[in-house]
């Protein structure tokens, strides 16, 4: 059942990715098709996750492939908050191909099928993995918005004659959005980390993954302090968001290399 739901979800995400590319070339009905692709894909993936949860004995996303599946769902869900508005469709050009690719990888690695019994209690995993992944999903979206900000800023600085062709959100809106997205995502990540630390045994060693997570947290923490304390805005703030995201990527890769679970 769960595997059957994977294909329509992937198809809808893929359709959305292609339609976003078409919409960037010629805005119009392709944008609406893309938005429906995202909505339908996300709903189908939600059903897929529910089916997995119903079938699993314990937390169903405790493998790296499973967590990737959940991560994609969280990223697309966060994107859906703004992505359906015409001015934010450009974000879909980055988010949806990535979502389709990661979902396909998750499937290839067995992340959409059933899972065996987990070594951890469900409550701990839901709290720790769920919160950490939700935090990372928010930070991923913040990075996509920051990238869009930098592109838009560059176009305006270059006085490009095509700057109005792509209906992107204004600079001020994008700047506010990536700042707010980080501000909302970091507490979620912090909570997830706190749950993880609470489970850490006294004799446990600090592994590189924990160090990386703390480092990422510190970068985003510094971002918020500088933003609200020292008035850091604009390009510097966008670059800091992307630097933090680079650490998120490294961490995700290391999780997928087998550190997690």
């Amino acid at each position: 059942m769960a595997e059957l739901l994977f294909w329509p979800a992937l198809l809808a995400y893929g359709e959305a990715a292609i339609a976003y590319a078409g919409d960037a070339r010629r805005p119009g009905s392709m944008g609406r098709l893309a938005t429906w692709g995202v909505r339908i894909g996300w709903l189908v993936q939600t059903a897929l996750l529910v089916a997995q949860a119903a079938r699993a004995d314990g937390f169903p996303w405790d493998t790296w492939a499973g967590s990737l599946n959940l991560f994609v769902w969280l990223v697309v869900g966060a994107y859906l908050i703004w992505g359906c508005k015409p001015r934010f469709r450009l974000l879909g050009l980055v988010v949806m191909p990535l979502a389709a690719l990661l979902l396909a990888i998750s499937y290839a690695a067995g992340g959409v099928g059933g899972t065996g019994r987990s070594g951890y209690s469900s409550l701990f995993l839901i709290a720790h993995v769920g919160l950490v992944l939700a935090g990372f999903a928010g930070l991923t979206l913040a990075a996509a918005i920051a990238a869009l900000y930098l592109w838009q800023e560059r176009e305006l600085k270059r006085r490009s004659s095509t700057v109005l062709r792509f209906r992107a959100p204004s600079l001020v809106t994008l700047e506010l959005l990536f700042g707010r997205t980080v501000a909302y995502s970091l507490p979620v990540l912090t909570l997830g980390m706190a749950v993880g630390f609470a489970r850490l045994r006294h004799d446990s060693q600090l592994d590189p993954l924990i160090v990386l997570t703390v480092l990422t947290w510190a970068v985003y923490g510094a971002f918020l302090v500088l933003r609200f304390g020292a008035g850091w805005h604009g390009r510097r703030a966008a670059y800091t968001t992307l630097a933090g995201f680079a650490l998120v990527v490294v961490m995700q890769l290391s999780v997928h290399m087998g550190h997690f679970a």
Partner: protein, 412 residues
């Protein structure tokens, strides 16, 4: 009844010719009333066109009357009929026949002409469809979304930086017409014109009054820059009046500078400052060119919409031609049915009231079912093959020749 269009536009006549046949709304309404004596008439008159749409049973005579009304001996006119006239009006309403494709004013002008016209069923349908097509084109394509003038491009770029311009403070440097146009475009999108400065204080005061802003002395330009979000500069100075050093650090607050002057008022080095975005007149004209190209690209899609909608109108108009024949056919069938029932009256005397109603209903249903398919075929054939089927139906059923029948008569 045929649809006839006679008119002239910017594509055919220069302004000195167009102004001779231009009418205000009251004049257009009066002309439409005069022209509609034997049918329907609407007169569309704007600065770029004057057109008369007529529906008449004698199209040649109607065309001749319209030509005379629009000084056909002296003014070059175009003449179109039926589908071509409908396509033309749809294109006009969609802004595809305008100087700037997709411009929005024409839709209101078409609505005004319709309201003031002497329309019957055909022009009523034609103009309502044209208004619908005009809206559809603007909704389904991006034909009217990009700016078509330097001042609207400046305002659109300011929106690209700030989003909502409500709360954005604009500083005008120079109080000439160019500054005023840009200020109007910005104010129309919600910006507040905060201050006006000019070397001639009286000019600054005049423009400031127009926007409920402050006129400030020219030497206070530096301090005003600190408070401004958007600066519009258009002076006749031969030297730059705004240098990089004059612009205070923005600390994350964007500053959008529009330099409309030639020679330029703003030192190009300002563009290199963080959070500062500088556009000069060449940059803005390039944006307008690009945006007009975009409008033309969208116009291709809009033409497709117009074509499809005109086809629908043609089908509807064609179906009108069979209305009298269908009505005659039904009348003939009904008279046969009621005549035959009357003949059988003596044999039906013994029936109860309820049985009589059953017989009435039964015969009506037989007639309706027999006529249903031929009527549908007649309507379909009228849309695709003209009135040939109507002639055949008249011949087969011996229907009266209703050449002058009223197409408003509806078949049951």
């Amino acid at each position: 009844m045929s649809l006839v269009l006679v008119g002239t536009s910017h594509r055919l006549s220069p302004v000195e010719v167009r102004e001779r046949v231009a009418l205000d709304l009251a004049g257009a309404a009066e002309l439409a009333r005069r022209m509609a004596r034997s049918g329907e008439a609407v007169c569309l008159s704007t600065c770029n066109r004057t057109e008369l749409y007529l529906v008449d049973s004698e199209p040649e005579a109607a065309e001749e009357r319209a030509s005379q009304a629009l000084l056909g001996d002296e003014v070059e006119l175009y003449r179109m009929t039926d589908e071509a006239a409908a396509v033309h009006l749809f294109r006009v309403a969609a802004g595809l026949d305008s100087l700037v494709p997709g411009e929005g004013e024409i839709l209101g002008q078409v609505r005004d002409a319709y309201d003031a016209g002497a329309h019957g069923p055909v022009l009523d349908r034609l103009f309502r469809e044209a208004l619908r097509v005009g809206k559809k084109v603007r909704t389904e394509t991006a034909i009217n979304e990009s700016p078509a003038s330097v001042s609207s491009a400046a305002a659109a770029l300011a929106q690209q930086v700030f989003g909502d311009l409500k709360g954005c403070r604009v500083l005008l440097v120079g109080a000439g017409e160019v500054s005023e146009l840009a200020a109007r475009a910005l104010a129309a999108r919600g910006a507040t014109i905060g201050a006006v400065t000019s070397r001639t204080q009286a000019n600054a005061a005049r423009l400031a009054d127009a926007f409920d802003a402050h006129a400030v002395p020219f030497d206070r330009l530096g301090s005003e820059l600190d408070q401004a979000d958007v600066v519009v500069s258009s002076t006749s100075s031969s030297e730059p009046i705004m240098s990089r050093d004059q612009v205070p650090a923005r600390k994350g607050r964007p500053l959008f500078v529009i330099d409309l002057a030639v020679p330029r008022d703003v030192d190009p080095a300002v563009a290199r400052l963080e959070d500062c975005y500088l556009y000069d007149i060449d940059d803005l004209q390039a944006v307008v060119r690009e945006s007009l190209n975009g409008r033309w690209r969208e116009a291709e899609r809009a033409e497709g919409i117009v074509e499809r909608e005109a086809e629908r109108f043609r089908d509807w108009q064609a179906s009108l031609q069979v209305v009298p024949a269908i009505a005659s056919l039904r009348e003939r069938a009904e008279s046969i049915r009621s005549g035959e029932l009357a003949k059988a009256e003596s044999r039906l005397e013994g029936l109860s009231e309820s049985e009589r109603r059953t017989v009435e209903s039964l015969t009506t249903q037989i007639v309706n079912k027999l006529l249903h398919v031929p009527i549908v075929r007649l309507k379909q054939a009228a849309a695709t093959e003209g009135t040939g089927y109507v002639e055949v139906a008249r011949d087969l059923f011996d229907l009266p020749d209703d050449e002058n029948a009223d197409p408003r008569r509806k078949p049951r």
